[in-house]
Amino acid sequence: MSLLILNARTIELPEDDRPLLAFLREGQRLTAAKPACNGGDCGACLVLLGEVVPELAPGASEARYCAVNSCLLGTDRVAGTQLITAEGLSSGPLTPVQRALAEEGGIQCGYCTPGLVVALTAALLNGDPLLSAVSGNLCRCGAYAGVRRACARIARDFAQRPRSLREAAALGLLLPEVAAAGEQLAAFAAQATVGTGLAEKLQQLDALNRQGQGRLVVAGESDWSLQHAHQAKRELVAPHALQLHRVTELRRIRADADGLHIGAAVSVAELLSSPLIAADWPELPSFLEFFASPAIRNVATIGGNLVNASPIADLAVILLALDAELSIVSLAGCRRIPLSGFYLAYHRTGLAADEVLSEVHVPPAGGRRLRYRKVARREHDDIASVNLALAVGHASSGYFGEVSLAVGGVGPYPLRLPRAAAALCGRPLCAATLREALSLIDEEIAPIDDLRGSAAYKRRLLKHLLLDQVAALHPDFAWEECLS
């Protein structure tokens, strides 16, 4: 039996994994979180998820609260956590966040409002910038100007951010009894013993495999739940998929002489804020702000991004350019392969059914710089049409150093472009060099027509992305001369 603190109450979770949003709305009659897109794209369904994560800081007892999409998560995933819905923030009188939205014109029809309130409250609890915290909240009434005014007011009123739930409650941001329940979370989570070790997970996976159930692991569930529409009898396909997100070994980021070692269940948000990552790759966090929405980044993991094998997976493209390697484990042991050998075909990898991706290894920067850019229909919170990552080594001025190049959206899976990269390596930084590389790109890619653009568009755009990235590294580079 799994338990959850829902606002101020402790409740039992259903036996089988259910879609969380439906559970809240129909099972618990908490209807502030709204279904609007059912695919993680709008933020109307946001709830606050509070977790004690000893995996990250051993012995930690402080809960971390972040906004997550309840339309993507299953009830299994929230066992041993506290969920705070908009109902847990106020019981009538407005919180300062709600008041600011109401008084500054941030509310029209109000359907998106509870999601906005949750996102802003989460940002206040975490000391995050307010505007970027709501960058994934769509408002079809277009009340964005009002939302901006509200954010400005909240920022003025909360120059000093609350340091605990109790302080937040004292400031009127949430109900005191909900804050009080949150203070019990550490003890509660310890009881609930949600976290298990990797060895145990592998045993369970092996057992499932023997029953012929296939590889049923989930991490952030952001991709998995789209592949398993709840209407299509998900509960029969996967009564309980194995949760990887609480496996201690998979949650760590380490740095040593061999570079960075990133656990497969590390979230994009954790990558974005990790000092270890920033020390080696200072520009990487800014690139990750173009990955989905803040709420998706809170759950989406690096492992899920690689295994899901989408042709435009942002992290896959970045990690290919960084020459990353993977550790893959099963009961039989551990093997290590280069990421560039991982993808076999469209949405297919070399991972066997009894295997789990455990760690991603990134070699030391050694003076290399990373550049990354994606182009999408909408600049933020959109899947790329085409994306490109470039890692460049030190070079004497006017020349390229070592170059490694990876791209997405132009083949069945994320690709490295070794020949185009070789055409740049050590060569003079000039239009002739680039033109040669661009013509090699033509031979190395095979885009197709789809919803993200025509093949002709993606082919040409990819070349321009390379010029763009070279221009970003060398501001006086004359990109115009390279256009055909």
Binding site: R29, T31, A32, K34, P35, A36, C37, N38, G39, A44, A86, E87, S90, S91, G92, P93, L94, Q98, R99, A102, G105, Q108, C109, G110, Y111, T113, P114, V117, S135, G136, N137, L138, C139, R140, C141, G142, A143, Y144, A145, G146, R148, A169, P176, E177, Q231, V375, R377, R378, E379, D381, D382, G453, Y457, R460, L461, H464, L467, A471, W479, L483
Partner: protein, 757 residues
């Protein structure tokens, strides 16, 4: 429930906005499901056009949880939900005309089971040829009604007087409403054989009429209630009816409550969208840059049935010359029948499409003459008394004043952008000025009426019911204010009740930006009736002539003496004076002759001007609208924050339509952009900085308390996104200035920049 300590003492009445802010406001899908409630979803056609003779329902019935499957044969009344044209069955019988057309209804004990069951129904399809293109449909004579022409002067003779004549073609794309709350209806059978339906509709009475017709009931047995809408934008004016009828059919047949609530994908695949238009124009100018003649042919892609298409087409005609005076005009428009889900109302109701064409024509002329478009626009703005091509003359013209207020900004930006682009930077800039002159009133004159029911209770509190539906446009707040101002009482004493066909009958849809004007005026009439009775009582109590009594802020004053509002109400009741009133309002002076296409269709016009600034990264093709400055005519605003929000929101919607929003279908007519992952609406980051100056002035006849309608007109400013981006693109690739095809998505911009072929 505990009492929260850190919060301020609870206010007496939770205002509308407070309910929304806390998330406790109930939308239709938030209503508690009654015990035994079932769920209904339609099975829809996989073909764009096909005949069928047999529907296979066995597999659906065998699906666990499925309770019943209905087809056209099970409909007790008329199989018809169209309000105007009677060409739209609830469930297709024998033939389907678009992908997504319902032909069966699956009812189950859970929404998931209904979803699965709806996928298990099939039919013996015999596919037929389909057409998706308005030009092809026009050529084949597939028209919803014969083409209509609006004209003024003598166009054929006028070309001779022109020194410049330019022609061109225009392709305007569709758009999905993406009301954030999907369509929803909950139907409850009643003991008297009738049904009550909670429906997320903008049009309670047409929903009521359709439900009654489907069930073969008199309208008095059908009750429609609307809580509030999570956005409508026109998409729930006509097309909420389907869901209400589906739920009602199942509820009445099975004797159990039934909810029909599609998820986003189903909603997007089944419901109609904004009408795409294809058009050709010709414009002629004299050597002073004055517009002399304008001719256009507009082809509207209506989809498979009429819906509101003919009314929408008419509004395209009304606004074909936007805010300009052109002495010789002939615009012909045809509504073309294709095999798409029937397109429907969407904020602006055809006006933006008509306006896009004239704005494109002006850009084409400006290019030909080598002058910025705003030079031509400024010379031709409507002036007081100028004639429209529909027999009306503009009264209270102020578009010129609004333009003047923007001239310093336009001049400065024009110079700044010229300098900027001359440096051949990677990010090119462009601007567009877009005026608007939008007629207010339903163009179907009969719809310009409303009723309001006001009760004053003995404790002095007041409740008002109207036919208006609140969908975020703030109409309830405005009605509340009208009632409070008219009775001279604090707003907290006034509650606006949810919309119910039981309280107010035969209501016009909340649409055409008229919600506050019509319903506010009716509410005001009702208040005046009640105040008349109260005034007589107050005259007696205060011992002064009733005519000298004043009501303000809860105090009733006459001569030197005063009396509290509550006291007066109690006294009036004790004297058996009526404290309730039902009043009717009809906008005076409206008429329109559809034979001659002449008349006085509008109460007044809303005017304004926007300066839209955009930029484009010529290497990657990414564009953005950076800033918009608006001067907008508002009369006397009843609620500045609401009006500001309407302008800002409409602008963002217009920009989305012109840029990132693109409906994509495959060759068989199946919708590919069927979720918010693939259909991209503007987000916070892409919404530009918006500076709005409200121009307060005279209201105009029919504007309640002189507060002018505001819902739709500002959407037209969004068209500036196209023309500003186009200018930025043309600074790199001049040929792009001749292309008028929306949307300017990042792909389209890139192709214009680098692959004009």
């Amino acid at each position: 429930m505990s009492t929260p300590s850190a919060h301020a003492a609870p206010a007496q009445v939770s205002s509308w906005l407070e309910l929304l802010a806390t998330g406790s406001a109930r939308f239709s899908g938030d209503l508690p499901l009654p015990p035994g409630c079932l769920h209904a979803l339609p099975a829809v056609s996989p073909h764009a056009h096909a005949k069928f003779s047999r529907i296979e329902i066995a597999a659906a019935l065998a699906e666990p949880g499925v309770v019943a499957v209905f087809t056209a044969a099970d409909i007790p009344g008329a199989n018809q939900i169209s309000n105007l044209a009677h060409d739209e069955p609830l469930l297709a019988a024998g033939e389907v005309h678009c992908v997504g057309q319902p032909y069966a209804l699956v009812v189950a004990d859970s929404a998931d089971a209904a979803w699965r069951g709806s996928r298990l129904v099939t039919a013996d399809w015999q596919p037929l040829p389909a057409c998706f293109d308005a030009r092809a449909a026009f050529a084949a004579g597939e028209l919803i009604q014969p083409p209509r022409t609006f004209s003024l002067g003598d166009v054929d003779a006028a070309w001779a007087a022109c020194t410049t004549v330019v022609s061109g073609e225009v392709d305007i794309g569709s758009a999905e409403h993406v009301y954030l709350e999907t369509q929803c209806a909950l139907a409850l059978p009643r003991d008297d054989g009738g049904v009550s339906v909670h429906s997320a509709t903008q049009s309670p009475s047409s929903t009521q009429k359709a439900v009654a017709a489907i069930l073969g009931l008199a309208m008095h047995l059908v009750e429609i209630e609307v809580e509030r809408l999570g956005g409508g934008f026109g998409g729930k004016e006509e097309q909420a009816t389907l869901w209400a009828c589906l739920a009602a059919l199942a509820a009445k047949s099975l004797g159990r409550p039934v909810r029909s609530w599609p998820e986003r994908r189903d909603d997007m695949a089944i419901t109609g969208k904004r009408h795409p238009y294809q058009a050709a124009f010709r414009i002629g100018l004299d050597d002073a840059g004055r517009f002399v003649a304008y001719e256009a042919r507009l082809l509207q892609n209506a989809g498979w049935c009429a819906d509101l298409s003919t009314a929408i087409l008419e509004r395209s005609l009304f606004h074909a010359t936007n805010a300009y005076f052109i002495p010789n005009v002939r615009v012909t428009a045809a509504s073309c029948r294709t095999n798409l889900p029937s397109n429907t109302a969407f904020r602006g109701f055809g006006a933006p499409q008509g306006i896009f064409v004239i704005e494109a024509a002006i850009r084409a002329a400006a290019r030909e003459l080598g002058v910025p478009a705003e030079v031509l626009q400024a010379k031709n703005l409507l002036r007081e008394g100028d004639a429209f091509p529909y027999g009306m003359r503009i009264a209270g013209a102020c578009v010129g004043d609004c333009w003047q207020a923007l001239v310093p900004a336009i001049t400065a930006r024009r110079a700044e952008f010229a300098r900027w682009n001359a440096g051949k930077p990677r990010r090119r800039k462009g601007l567009a000025v877009v005026p608007v002159c939008f007629g207010i009133s339903f163009t179907a004159t009969l719809l310009n009426q409303a009723e309001a029911l006001v009760h004053v209770y003995v404790d002095g509190s007041v409740v008002v019911s109207t036919g208006a539906v609140d969908m975020g446009q703030g109409v309830y707040g405005k009605i509340q204010r009208v009632v409070a101002l008219t009775l001279g009482i604090p707003e907290a004493l006034v509650r606006v009740a949810g919309t119910s066909t039981l309280r107010v009958a035969n209501v016009s849809p909340t649409a055409a930006s008229t919600g506050a004007d019509l319903n506010g005026a009716a509410a005001r009439e009702a208040c005046l009736v009640i105040a008349g009775g109260l005034r007589r009582v107050a005259g007696e109590l205060l011992d002064c002539p009733p005519g000298s009594i004043g009501f303000s802020d809860g105090v009733v004053a006459g001569g030197e003496k005063t009396l509290g509002w509550r006291e007066l109400v109690a006294a009036a009741w004790a004297r058996r004076v009526c404290l309730s009133a039902l009043a009717h309002y009809a906008t005076p002076g409206l008429f329109f002759d559809r034979e001659r296409n002449q008349g006085q269709p509008f109460a007044y016009h809303v005017q304004g001007v926007a300066l839209v600034e955009a930029s484009v990264d010529v290497l990657l093709g990414s564009g953005r609208v950076d800033r918009v400055e608006v001067v907008h005519d508002i009369g006397r605003s009843l609620d500045r924050l609401t009006d500001l929000g309407q302008i800002e929101g409409a602008l963002v919607q217009g920009i989305g339509w012109m840029t990132c929003e693109e409906i994509v279908r495959d060759d068989a007519g199946r919708l590919l952009s069927d979720s918010l992952a693939t259909y991209k609406i503007p987000d916070l980051d892409s919404a530009p900085e918006i500076v709005v100056r409200l121009r307060e002035g005279a209201g105009g006849p029919g504007a309640v308390l002189n507060s002018k309608a505001v819902g739709e007109p500002p959407l037209v400013y969004g068209l500036g996104a196209y023309f500003a981006l186009q200018e930025a693109i043309a600074s790199w690739r001049p040929e792009a200035a001749a292309v008028f095809r929306t949307p300017l998505s990042s792909e389209r911009i890139f192709m214009l920049l680098h692959d004009v072929a």
